[in-house]
Every structure is written in structure tokens, then in C-alpha cells.
Amino acid sequence: MKDLTIRNLSKTYFDPYAGTNVTAVHDVSLKVEQGEFVCIVGPSGCGKTTILNMIAGFIPYTGGEILVGGRPVKGPGPDRGVVFQSFALFPWRTVLENVAFGPKMRGVRKVEREQIAHEYLALAKLTEAAGRYPAELSGGMQQRVGVVRALANEPDVLLMDEPFASVDAQTRMTLQEELTRIWQEKRPTVIFITHDVAEAVFLANRVVALSKGRVLDDIAVDLPRPRSWDALNDDARFKELSNRVLQLVRSA
């Protein structure tokens, strides 16, 4: 696990319909410490997914720099694991094979990589599903596999792009609690993108509010861990922090 530094990051692209240059991300700087859990919150179109895609190396950036453990980002790589909103599991591989994919690319032998995969599947209580295909699982189960697949590759930074946006409310709460548990166990460096303020406050050590491609503010979340929705639903501090973030996002 390593730290992540973003300095004066910006992204400008040419919009052929408008015929002008559009700035999607504007001079964003952010430092994420090793083992920290940072949520980036903002309304749709605020540039949060663009930032994540640039960190992941899927799209090039036009200004500033991104450093993972001091080394600049050039294209996608296994040092940054990604969890996608659409899950992006390989439909032609079983759950086990999906999780073992990263180790396989590193050249880990079959027996070992399956052992690794089983270990991580157990972490997310997925042992039963190992032999099934993604299409045979529910959305919540699929995203568990997505998270575990990224973790099993032991990335320096874990990037999560609204991973729980396409599952139902009940499942989402379970997944959030599980994620905090797994994070406490493995302590990865996490950047988590969401438009759900409560989700951000629930998960993060630090919430970064974003609007129109700029950072509005950076709020530390000092809630105790382990966190659960039963405990936090009526927690005064949780409500206070959530309201602060909400007002920030809405005022912009």
C-alpha cells in the first residue's frame, strides 16, 4: 500500500458539438496518505469520475501530475485496482477465475492463485459462489466479487467508481458495512467516488467535496470504527458531518 499525490490536476477536452474547449477538471490537488480511505463526493457532472479515470490511467490528463508512491501515472496498471460501477466482471470466467485473474497476469501458478482467490472470497463470504458465473449472481454478489477481485491483486491504491450505485438500498447498506470491515482488516489506500453524501461520511476518513471540476472543501471524519448503520443512524456527530457535506455540495 502506498500514498497518492495529485498536484494541480486538470483535464481539458474539445467538445465537437459546442465547438469549444471544455474544462472538466480544474486545478485539483489532493494528498491521500497510505492506508487512508478518502471519499470524493459531488453531483453528477462534477468531474469526479473523470478524476478517477485519470488516476486509473484510462484517460490522459492535460495538466498537473498524479504520483502513486512517488511515481507518475502513465496508463493503467496493476498498482491501482479499480472497482467499476457496472461491475465489469468477465462473464466468461467463474467467480473464482475472475478473482484469480490479477495473480494470473502476474504469472502466479494455478494452485497458488486459486488459493489466493479462495482466501479473498472467504473474506467477502463468497466461498459458496466460487464456481458460478457472474450472470448467475445478484447485483450485490457481483459487486462483492468486483471488490475482492481488485483487492486480490494487492494494489497500492484501490479506486472505486460509485461501486454501490446500481444495487438496491438494503444490499447497499450491507455492502458498505462489509467494505469498512474489509478495509480495517487489509488497510488499503482507497479513493471512493460517490454522489451519496451519507455513504461518503459512513465510509471515509476524509470526504472531499467537488463541484464543477474544483475542490470545495476537505472534511475529516472522526467517527469511531467499526462503523455500522444501526449505531450511526441516530448518531449526532454523523448527522452533523453529513449536513455539513450536504450543504457544501448543494451551495455550489
Binding site: 496508463g75 496493476p78 467499476f84 485473474f101 457472474p134 481488485a150
Partner: protein
Amino acid sequence: MKQFLLKMWSHCVRLAARWPSIASIAPFIPVVAAWWIVTELQIFPRVFLPGPVEVVRSFGSLVYTGILPAYLQDSIVRLAVGAFWGVALGIPLGILVGLNKRARTALWPLLLFFQAIGDIAWLPILVIWFGYGLTTITVVIVYTVIFPVVLNTVLGVRSIPITLHRAAQSLGASRIRMLWEVVLPGALPNIVTGLRNGLGYGWRALIATEIIVGTSGIGFLMFDARRSGSVVEILLGMIILGILWYIVDSWILAPIERATGQRWGLVTR
């Protein structure tokens, strides 16, 4: 009476559920029966429309003399060889065109056009180039099979969601491994569909080619029978063609298509 019929019906349903092939044979029984009755009543002259009995008899004699097995083997081998080369050339070409934008601008319009010319229109010039022989037939079949395979492979490659490429990249897959791990399996259901279509066209092209330039094969058998005015053998040829393709399509190709597509949730059919 009604009770009895219902009971019969439920027996039929249970039988069909246990052996699904019975359900696909059953509808042919009334057709064959009607055909038999029509010929027995001599509605059309016998020379124009012989009955099932004659066809079965000629089947027997053609098998006995060894002509039918030999011709059948010729046709199947030709189709298999053509299909093999069509796939071996078509899949790589399709992946290239699907992944590379330059290759696509350069080749896509040509692919559409050459597909449109159609296999059979090539026959006259192929006969001039290669004469009446196996080369001509093979070229025609490869030509027929390759286009559906290429076009469907391109479609399959292009339909792979970008997030799957990204997921594989961020899990550390190299460009070469991406081909094997993402592109090929992602496009596979479409490739199988392409192969299925391609063989469908290839089959017909084979028959046409055998009719026009062949010296053996089922198509030749039918046209040879046409020349000597033997409707029995023409009908026999048609029935063999139908049954053979039905077997290939529904017992080999369709299951493969389902096996790849359905469990992966990529094909809903």
C-alpha cells in the same frame, strides 16, 4: 372419449419431454402422410411427383451401389475444408478490423462490397482461373464462410464494454493477453453466430457450385438426376440436404451457441 384423448395428449407431452428429438420429428409425419396420399391418388403425374416409397427405394439402391455415401462424403469434406479456412482466416481478420480504427476505415467498406458480390457470382471467373475442380469449390466456400465470420467477429469485438478492457488492464493484463483473455472470449458468442450463418451460406454455395461445375457431391447428384429427368433422386437429394443441415445446425451449432452465450449471460435467446 374426451378423457381418452386428454390421456393420449399427456402421454405425447411426457414422451416429447423425455426425448426432445421426437417433438421435432412429429410434425413431419403428417407432411409425409399427405405426400404419400397425394401421390397414391395420382393428383400429379408420377413423373412429376413420385411418392415416399420410391424415394426410400432409390435411397436404398444408391446406398447399395455406394454412390450416395461417396457423394455425401465429398460434399461434407468440401464444406469442412472450406469452413476451416474461413474460420482460420476470418477470426484474425475480424479482430484486426474490430480493434484497429485504421484497418476498419480501410477494410470495412471493401468487406461489405465483396460480401455483396456473393459467392456464386465468382464461379465463372474462378472456373477460368482454376478449371472445374476442387480448388474452385474450396475457394467459393471459403469466400462464403469468411464474410459472416469476419463481420460478426468485428461486431463482437466492438460490443465488448470498455470497462472490461479497463478492468483487465488495471489488473495487469498485457496487450497480447488482452486478446486471449478479453477480446476473444468477449467476441466468441458473435463468432459462433457468424460461423453458423457462414455455414448456412456455405452449404447453399456448395450445392450451387456442385450443380454448376461439380463432378460429384449431393448437388451434382441432384442435377445429374435433373438431366436424366429422375425426380426421385432430386427429391432424395433435397431431403438429405435438409436432414443433414438440420442435424448440423440444431445438434452441433445451436448448442455451442447456447453454451457460450447463455451461461455467460451475453445471449438471451
